[in-house]
Structure formats: C-alpha cells, structure tokens
C-alpha cells in the first residue's frame, strides 16, 4: 500500500484503540499502526467476551439453548431467536401456524427498528452530536415497553418457541404498536431527517468517507446494510424469502455510493420500511393458534441443515448438525458482524483516525455477537 505521507519507519507508532473505548461499543480492541493521524494498518483483536456459546449448545437440549440466542446480539435479539428457531424447525420438520408467523414478523421488525435507533443514537454520538441520542432513545423506549408487554423482558428476549411464540399478543399490543407507528412516522422527518440527516456537519463527516466496494463486501462475506450501502440489493427477507415476507410489500433500500453516508441512509430508510411491514402485518393479522403442537423433547433425524435470516446487522446463519439425539451435535452460528468487521482492516488503511471511527460506527458492530 502507499502511505498518505512518506515517512520513515521510526515515525510509525502503535496505538491501542480499546478494549475499553466508547467508540468500539463494547469490548473490542483495535491495534492501530499509525503514521501521525493516518492509519497504516488496523488489526481488530477479538475475543474479550468470548463465551463459547457453540459448546453450550452441544451440552444441552435444543430448547435449553434458546435463552443463549438473545445474548449473542442483545440489540436485535428476536432475529437471533428466529434464526435458531427456524434451523430447529427445519431439522425437525415443524410447521409454524400463520398467526405465529405474523406475530414473529411484527415483533422482529419492532426489534429491528429499536436496534437501528440505538445504532443511530450511538453513531451520531461517536461523531460528536449528543442530542439525537436522546430523541432516539425516547422512541426506542416505546418499543421496549411494547415488547416487554408481550415477551416479558426488555432486552434479551426469549420469546419464540419451536413452532410458534411463547405468548399471544393482545389488543393492547396491537393498539400500542399502531400508535407507535404513527408516532415514529411523524417524528422521522423532523427529529431525524431535518435535525441530523441534512446537517452539514454530519454530511462532512460521512460523505465520501470509508468507501467499501461491492466486490470487497463479496470477498469478505459482508451482508446487511453494509452490503446494501455498496449498492447491492441483497436482503435475505426478499432474496431467500422466509416466514410471511413474500406476502408483504416492502422495498430494499440500497445506495450505490459505498461510503459511510450510504450505510447511514440505508438504515434510516430501513426504519421506514419496517414501519410499513408492521402496518401491513397488523392489518392482515389472522386468528388462530399461536403455537403448533410440538413434543416436549425434540428428536430430529440425523440431518444437517442451514437456515438464514436477515438480522438488523446482516445475514445470521445457523448450521445445525443433528445426530438423532435430544440436542445439537454441532451448532455453528454465523454472525453478521464477524464478517462485516473482517473487512475493517482493508478499508481503514490510509484513513484518518477520526474517519476510521466513523467507518467503524457505520458497520454497526455488536461485540457479543462477534465474540460469541
């Protein structure tokens, strides 16, 4: 690579970013080789909160691993619930009733919005703006209240069950969700777009910074808003339709610029699309059972299955290997942020440190999910 400024080796120094640093949003260490303010090499050092979830899966039954899934990505816990449930349902051949699929879709999209809102607040705070965080958390609080009402927890939801959901939703939830959709719709243009998206400081910090090409994304296996910010219209919900997504009308926001601003815009547009999905799902919500009849102990045949869902950070995949026993023989969790972060080294070369932090923020990292 070519250095931005010609320098002699003794002017290069090592800078530790993290493991405790507000910009890494968790315990991530990045070993930076710096030339003044410019990054020569960035090496993420992982594993500070590695918990070996995959071994825990092997040691218990299928149901016993369920509460582990929200601990992977505590910000979009329901997506991880769903990914694991779908893998087990596929292996055991369980059909999910329609109402349960609708409930799953409504709750998972609410969770996606809350995850994007938190990212938005934290990202803008990384760039030096404190106020937007308060607006975002105000709206996120509404979602947490709604989800607490049906799931019983505020963050690490363990709401889905094999073949359905744990609890039926009631009228309070439906009216509350409708009110929330209306509220967020009215706030998006003012508190979000006018205050932040059009702000000249934000544009200067994000526009043309941290270009990631579609080819880089493909080579590193990056998915989610990172890939869509590079102009690739790929979303597991559309591309590999699961649940009731084929019946719903929504777009995949994608921006070809590939810079931090594009990734920012993708997530902001996704909030609107999720609102659309929730509205449609609420309108179509059918009656019926919210859970299929599933035996207490699952014993799927000896198969190995793969299942992918679109989590808020990208494609979350489960490779589940069964050997005919009561628990997984092997469960591989393919977490989106792990692949998304792996391209950081290549992308941040030659960037200013402050810009690299903007890039890192725009990847939307959740460390427990990377470290597993």
């Amino acid at each position: 690579m070519t250095l931005p400024i010609q320098c002699t080796p003794d002017e290069i120094f090592i800078l530790n970013l993290g493991p405790q640093h507000p910009a890494t949003h968790g315990v991530l260490r990045v070993k930076l080789t710096m030339d003044g303010e410019y990054i020569v090499e960035a090496e993420p050092v992982l594993g500070y909160i590695h918990r070996m979830h995959e071994k825990m899966a092997e040691n218990g039954t299928f149901a016993q691993f369920m509460p582990n899934t929200p601990r992977l990505d505590y910000l979009s816990a329901l997506s991880f619930n769903q990914g694991y449930c779908m893998a087990v349902e596929r292996a055991a051949g369980i059909e999910v009733p329609e109402r349960a699929e609708y409930i799953r879709t409504i709750t998972v999209e609410l969770n996606r919005i809350s995850s994007h809102l938190l990212w938005y607040g934290a990202f803008v705070m990384d760039l030096g703006g404190f106020t937007p965080l308060l607006y975002a958390f105000d709206d996120r609080e509404q979602i947490l209240d709604l989800l607490e009402h049906v799931t019983g927890s505020r963050l690490t939801y363990c709401y889905y069950r094999f073949g359905g959901v744990y609890n039926d939703i009631d009228d309070d939830f439906v009216t509350g969700t409708r009110a929330f959709v209306k509220r967020l719709r009215s706030r998006l243009p003012i508190q979000y777009r006018d205050l932040v998206t059009g702000n000249i400081i934000l544009i200067k910090r994000l526009k043309d910074i941290g270009f990631i090409s579609a080819e880089t994304c493909r080579k590193y296996g990056a998915t989610g808003p990172v890939l869509r910010g590079s102009g690739v219209e790929y979303d597991v919900r559309k591309h590999e339709p699961y649940s009731i997504y084929p019946e719903l009308d929504f777009d995949i926001p994608h921006y070809p610029e590939g810079d931090c601003m594009a990734r920012y815009m993708v997530r902001m547009d996704e909030i609107e699309q999720s609102l659309r999905i929730i509205e449609q799902a609420l309108d179509k919500l059918p009656d019926g059972p919210y859970q299929a009849k599933v035996p207490k102990t699952l014993k799927p045949p000896a198969v190995d299955v793969y299942s992918a869902v679109e989590a808020s950070k990208g494609s979350f995949g489960c490779r589940l290997v069964c050997d005919g026993d009561k628990g997984p023989y092997r469960l591989k969790l393919r977490s989106p942020s792990f692949s998304n972060l792996s391209l950081f080294g290549e992308v941040s070369e030659g960037l200013l440190l402050a810009d690299a932090l903007a890039v890192m923020g725009s990847l939307d990292l959740v460390i427990p999910e990377i470290d597993r």
Binding site: H50, G93, G221, V232, V303, D304, Y306, S315, R319, K332
Partner: protein, 256 residues
C-alpha cells in the same frame, strides 16, 4: 440455465467421473425427452389432420347433398396429403439436431428426496443436489481435502461469497469434517455447502484465505475451536480464544 444447474456443472469439473456418468444420464434424458416430444407432436398433428379431413369430408358431403353428387375422394386426398407434408415439416424442424444444448427437459433433481448421508459411513466424492426446503442449501459438495481450494476458486469465479467455515468433530469415525458455506448475493438464490473429511489425528486442510479474504478469520476461528491446521494460512493465531490457548474446546473429548 438455472443457477443451480450452472453451478452444479461448474463444480462437476472437480469430479470428472461423476461428470461423465451424469453427462451420459443427462444426454439419455434429453434424447428421451426429445423423442417423447416428437411423438407427442406427431400424434397431435395426426389427430388434427384426421379431424380436419373428417370435417372437410362432412362439409363436402353436405354440399354434395345440396348440389349435384360429386366424388369427394380427390379433395380428401389432397387434404390428407397436405397435412402429411405439414406434419413432416414440423417433425423435421423439431427433430433437427440443435447445435446448442437444448434447455433441460425438467429438473429431475428438484424432487429428489432428502437423504441423510452424513452419519452413514463414507460417501463418494461428488456433487449432490439437496432439497432446499428440507436442508436450507441447494448443492452439497463432498471433496478431497486438497480440492477445497479448487472448489473455492470455481465458486469465487462464479460470483459466490463465503458465508462461513466450520468444523464438525466426528469422534466415533476418527474424522473431522470441514464445511464451507457459500452463497450468492447477486440476485439469484443458490447456497452451496462444500465439505471435506480429514483424519482426526492429523487435521490439515489447505487454506482458501488467498481466494476469499473473508476466510481468514473463519479459518482462525475453526483452528481455535478444533485445532484444524489450515496450511498456508498467513496468520493462524487464536482469534476468539486467549492468545496463549493450547486447547480446542469444540472437540468432543475436550474436558476443561
């Protein structure tokens, strides 16, 4: 050509024997399909011609009743004759040898029942088409350890991206399995699982990190968890485990 077929035939480059047998089978199926189609068209045309001739004879008979009685045979003959020529031309155009391989008759693989082979002893090297609804992936490739690089090159060239690399410890069979999950993000849907088996006593596979840079971390992780050595890897140090870790927790005989 569907992406599944395209990818399958690209991957069959790795397995010349299977390619030959599948090629034969495919050719036979294509021949059969063409013959069937020809027979069907012939029958259709024949039926049509007969019906036409009949209708004509009938109408002529009617006309004959109205006017003076006439011999209907010559017109009928010409009608039958023209129909026969028509038929011959149609059949000829159908049966004419096409230079390009014709569209596949149908995908016989799509309704293949899901088979569980992973635990039933050795499986021959080759490409298998799996039921997507039951498995979540379309193609299942089982190859020798040194073929994973060629498979990665083929799939990377076809626009696939690597989703994950993982291991499975088959302790009873004294083997380790390495699974590479590929998918395509450019509009079409095809998931490919490439797997290989290596002896548990000397787990070594060549790296693919020079082809898919994304494999770098996945291979380091698999090395952490299983102790599988990816030969040629540029930086095979612990990624998730502590930097001085000398244990591999996902081995089935691991005790903390």
């Amino acid at each position: 050509m569907s992406i599944l077929r395209e990818t399958k035939w690209a991957l069959l480059e790795l397995f010349p024997e299977q390619k030959a047998t599948e090629g034969e089978a495919e050719k036979a199926a294509r021949e059969k399909h063409r013959a069937d189609a020809r027979a069907k068209i012939e029958a259709e045309i024949k039926a049509k011609a007969e019906a036409e001739a009949k209708a004509k004879a009938k109408s002529e008979a009617k006309e004959g009743e109205a006017a003076a009685p006439k011999k209907p045979s010559p017109t009928e003959e010409t009608a039958a004759e023209s129909a026969a020529i028509d038929l011959a031309a149609k059949v000829k155009s159908q049966a004419a040898p096409q230079p390009a391989p014709p569209e596949e008759p149908e995908e016989p693989e799509s309704d293949e029942p899901p088979v569980s082979l992973e635990h039933e002893g050795p499986r021959p090297f080759g490409v298998m088409v799996r039921s997507y609804a039951a498995r979540g992936y379309h193609l299942d490739v089982f190859c020798a350890p040194d073929q994973v690089v060629a498979a990665a090159e083929l799939l990377d060239g076809a626009g696939f991206s690597l989703e994950a690399v993982t291991g499975v410890d088959w302790i009873k069979e004294e083997q380790m399995e390495v699974v590479y999950d590929y998918t395509i993000t450019a509009g079409r849907l095809c998931r490919v699982a490439v797997r290989t088996r290596i002896p548990r006593s000397a787990p070594e596979v060549p790296t693919i990190s020079h082809i898919c840079p994304g494999a770098n971390w996945h291979e380091r992780e698999t090395h952490d968890f299983f102790g599988i050595k990816f030969t040629g890897h540029p930086y095979l140090v612990p990624i998730l485990l502590p930097e001085d870790a000398d244990f591999h927790p996902l081995l089935k005989d691991f005790t903390p």
